[in-house]
């Protein structure tokens, strides 16, 4: 018996989200009196792998096969399926991000194992096995009961946090077997920015809306984001107007994010926008209209012209950092 | 009685709503401010088939019923009456006129492009000195044997410059009074036609309103509707249907302003609570809702009568009269509920109020509708 957690390595490093997943798995392992096995695909150093032990993984399996450089949903599913069988895993945990969303459904269907996608809590009960997830774009929480022997969970980022639970961890290399049907797709080219804070994983996100008036005014947003180590994003009208790239659009039809701190600057807070950011732990809104709907979901607000408030905000952050 | 809409009618309503709320809303304020004709939107209106939705599929129309037309007109008018008037004139005056009274050749030649929306049509009745009193036409169509010679001036013509096809009401036999009037189909680009400057209007500012002058314009005889002297009857019959369009437009102006007022009343706070919680506002909203419901029912009743081939002249007059009156009333109240915000353009309701005013005036003033209704009661 074990809890298997699939953690992504990025250019040979685990990021915070990976350790959050290990922490989450460790909590389930503790509750069910079992251990955590972490699985990583791709080249990674032993030192980096052993860091998973800090958060409670007593074994780390590494798979380093050139064919797995690019994600093929079916092939990755095969790898995890074999690890599940090898480790007699009863619960499989993945991140509810690009890779997790791609693999977890296939794994669920292959193992006939019930899936709780985008979970936001640890199991509220183990018998029956019940976990909460957000539904209707955050307007209701559903309790999902899984009745199969193996359970699969994808966890929303920033919904559990990091919890250290140091254990000594064993590192094992694993050579999975593949069948021909495993590689149905081929990546021709990759265009990827390395080293930038990922919007979907950032702790802090600074977001601009139509109140910014035009793309030429984005300098201060980037500056504030830089100071805070934050990612930048925007509302839909901003992306539609072409002021910012569509990859920055957060909202119902854009990216759904759950940072610890979200700045909504000059964003009125249409329901479609709120659907994409309502899972943020703390929301700060700056808007000139005191009736703007964003203030009904924000924790802190400033009523005022964002063009005027933003430079003051930057100065305040600089002063704060200087004193810290 | 059945008050349920069919699934198809609802789909048409939703299509109109999506078009209005997604496309028209984007630039409606700029078009209003600058009196800019909605060229791209009219193109899309044609693609979606709204410009000929009432015409039979045989003539490239949508073959939809008048109930659907009322629903679509209401949705589009909630956002932009300048666009819905183009749709109304094309459908219920021009296309309807040709389809109901035209020859097969006229339908093939003129109705099809209008139904496809490749061309728009205009209905040329009003004159500088003949508005409500349509019998005193001064534009003349002189009988020259194989053609008519058209002379005169028409006023307040919707689609006056952009239309490809005119339906022109003109006097051929002045001695016969209204029984000497004819209606002719005239190509907009015929020699001898000149179009006056764009009228700078109070509302519906992005619709294309002009005066049109005819100087010795030659119109072939085969472009006449019906027998010699049928023109006045043609115009009156066609206007009966047109009233349903304008009634639905007025309804949309009212319900559009009402929706904005409800939203605003639920958001805006005064004296520690949303203003909707103040009875002064809540009761206003209740009155507005009842008026809109009445107007909608009148529109749908007239549409139902038309769809079922029953007389609808009085019903459409009632719908047009009532809807126009309550549109003025409801839009004014919507401005009042918005307070100062209602008086600025960004909140749309002042525009809807300006537009509502026209529905009491054009395609038969409220007073003309009262005449139609009272004559029917007293006959």
């Amino acid at each position: 018996m074990s809890i298997l957690v699939y953690i992504e390595n990025r250019e040979g490093k685990f990021h915070k989200g990976a350790f959050e997943l290990v922490s989450y798995a460790a909590r389930i392992a503790k509750d069910t009196n079992t251990t955590v096995v972490a699985l990583s695909i791709g080249e990674i150093t032993k030192e980096e792998m052993s860091r998973a032990g800090t958060y409670g993984a007593s074994k780390v399996i590494t798979v380093n096969v050139p064919r797995l450089t690019a994600l093929d949903n079916a092939a990755y599913t095969s790898v995890i399926e074999q690890a599940v069988s090898l480790e007699a895993a009863t619960v499989v945990v993945l991140a509810s991000g690009f890779t997790g969303k791609a693999i977890a459904p296939r794994l669920s269907a292959r193992l006939k194992a019930g899936l709780v996608p985008a979970a936001v809590t640890v199991p509220v009960s183990y018998n029956p096995f019940v976990i909460r997830k957000k539904t209707f774009n955050g307007k209701a929480l559903a309790e999902i009961q899984v009745n199969t022997a193996i359970k699969i969970i994808t966890l929303n980022p920033n919904s559990f946090g990091l919890h250290e639970m140091p254990v000594s961890s064993e590192i094992v290399e694993f050579q999975p077997a593949f069948s021909e049907r495993d590689f149905g797709t081929k990546v021709l080219s990759t265009d990827k920015q390395v080293g930038k804070v990922l919007l979907t994983e950032a702790d802090i996100v600074v977001s601009g809306g139509r109140g910014m008036k035009g793309p030429e005014n984005w300098g201060p947003i980037e500056e504030l984001a830089g100071l805070l180590g934050a990612a930048t994003s925007c509302s839909r009208p901003v992306a539609d107007e072409g002021w910012r790239s569509h990859t920055e659009h957060v909202g119902q039809t854009g990216k759904v994010i759950a940072p610890i701190l979200y700045f909504a600057l000059g964003i009125s807070g249409a329901i479609q926008h709120v659907a994409g950011v309502s899972s943020s732990k703390v929301i700060v809104a700056v808007n000139k209209d005191p009736e703007a709907p964003i203030f009904s979901v924000a924790d802190y607000g400033i009523v005022g012209d964002v063009q005027k408030v933003l430079p003051e905000l930057i100065d305040a952050v600089k002063a704060f950092k200087a004193n810290a | 009685m059945d008050f349920e809409f069919t699934e198809e009618q609802l789909m048409i309503r939703d299509a109109a709503r999506d078009f209005a709320q997604r496309d028209l809303i984007r630039d409606v304020l700029e078009r209003d401010a600058g009196s800019i004709y909605p060229t791209e939107h009219v193109k899309k209106l044609a693609e979606l088939g709204f410009l000929g939705m009432l015409v039979s599929p045989e003539y490239d129309g949508g073959g939809m019923d008048t109930i659907s037309y009322v629903l679509a007109m209401e949705e589009i008018s909630k956002v932009d009456a300048s666009v819905s008037v183009i749709m109304s004139v094309n459908n219920s005056l021009v296309c309807y006129g040709i389809e109901a009274y035209g020859t097969e050749e006229q339908k093939q030649k003129y109705l099809k492009p209008l139904a496809r929306g490749e061309k728009t049509g205009a209905f040329l009745l009003s004159e500088p000195e003949a508005g409500s009193d349509a019998t005193s036409q001064r534009t003349t169509a002189e009988d020259k044997g194989d053609h008519y010679l058209l002379n005169g001036t028409k006023n307040w013509i919707t689609n006056g410059n952009t239309a490809g096809t005119y339906l022109v009401i003109a006097q051929t036999h002045p001695d016969k009074k209204h029984k000497g009037i004819n209606c002719l189909i005239v190509d907009r680009h015929s020699p001898g036609i000149s179009v006056g400057p764009h009228e700078d209007k109070m509302g519906m500012r992005s619709s294309d309103t002009h005066s049109v002058m005819f100087t010795d314009v030659i119109v072939p005889k085969e472009n006449r509707f019906g027998e010699d002297g049928f023109g006045f009857t043609f115009a009156m019959k066609t206007l009966e249907g047109g009233r349903i369009g304008i009634a639905s437009q007025a309804l949309g102006l009212a319900s559009g302003a009402f929706e904005r007022a409800v939203k605003y009343a639920k958001e805006r706070k005064a004296f520690g609570t949303e203003i909707a919680n103040h009875q002064a506002i809540a009761f206003k909203l209740a009155d507005m809702a009842v008026k809109i419901e009445n107007a909608r029912n009148l529109c749908l009743k007239a549409a139902w009568l038309k769809d079922n081939s029953k007389p609808y002249g009085v019903a459409s007059a009632m719908a047009k009269y009532y809807a126009a009156e309550i549109a003025m009333d409801v839009t004014t109240q919507a401005v009042q509920i918005h307070g100062g915000y209602g008086y600025v353009k960004e909140y749309h309701v002042e525009r809807l109020m300006r537009e509502a005013k026209l529905t009491q005036i054009y395609e038969g003033t409220s007073e003309i509708q009262q005449i139609v209704i009272s004559r029917d009661i007293l006959k």
């Binding site: 269907a109 797709t185 610890i260 | 073959g63």
Partner: protein, 249 residues
């Protein structure tokens, strides 16, 4: 080539969600149902492909799993331009059951390209497309933001963390599509609505599948505390609160 677009209908985003008295289900009265926005974009792309590839795409079919109440959604898809439609007649309990029912349908009526929206805006599961591909034993590509057919080959772009990848896939395959796949959903035209009357909408009995999970209850999120308005003249205060009170910086 034939394209299948899997459609679900969901409450309009602006719908207020209410629970039944026992909190076991969502109160569906007064809900305005619409085509799931991502499915609608997928359908739009499928129709664009059919129109622009000069006969390479012979047919665009839509399918849904649900009871008769969801049929207006399928008829709207037909009015927008789909050639035919299937409804598998069962009220599914979870994403797996939807995928399993669709698998039965697709095995009897094969397609080359199967399109699913990345997520449905009701249960936000992001699961049907991947499960379906697995049950059919075919490839799947997730987060697809562009899809074209060139000389019988399917070319894709998928959005990965921090960038994008261009790819090809063997056929048949499932694309799980997201924003970008097409610009704007189409509005049905009068002609489309008229011709939809004559298009086939087949109701297929359930394939007797079972679900893997169930929803044991719902909860409404705790109401959010009122927004703390900070004086615009004193922005420093905001930073202090974020540090001392919220402890997020």
């Amino acid at each position: 080539m034939k394209i299948l677009v899997c459609i679900s209908n969901v409450p309009d985003t602006t719908t207020k969600i209410k629970l039944s008295a026992d909190s076991k289900s969502v109160d569906t009265s007064g809900i305005q149902w619409v085509i799931n926005p991502w499915d609608e974009l997928a359908l739009t792309r499928a129709l664009e492909l059919k129109e622009t590839t000069g006969g390479a795409i012979e047919k665009v079919t839509v399918a849904t799993v649900g009871t008769a109440e969801v049929e207006p959604t399928l008829r709207k898809a037909l009015a927008i331009g789909a050639d035919d439609a299937f409804r598998v007649d069962i009220n599914p309990q979870d994403a797996y059951q939807v995928a399993a029912e669709l698998t039965g349908l697709i095995k009897a009526n094969p397609y080359d390209i199967i399109l699913c929206g990345i997520e449905s805006s009701d249960y936000n599961g992001s699961a049907v497309g991947g499960m379906l591909a697995e049950l059919l034993g075919i490839a799947s590509v997730s987060s697809v933001s562009s899809l074209s057919v060139v000389n019988g080959e399917v070319q894709l772009t998928r959005e990965i963390d921090g960038g994008k990848e261009t790819m090809v896939s063997s056929l048949p395959f499932t694309a799980i599509v997201q924003k970008g796949i097409s610009l704007e959903p189409r509005i049905p035209s009068m002609r489309g609505i008229m011709t939809a009357r004559a298009k086939p909408l087949q109701v297929v009995p359930s394939f007797g599948t079972e679900s893997l999970t169930l929803i044991s209850g719902f909860k409404l999120p705790a109401p959010k505390a009122a927004c703390h308005i900070v004086d615009g003249e004193n922005v420093k205060d905001l930073i202090r609160l974020l540090h001392e009170e919220a402890k997020v910086i």
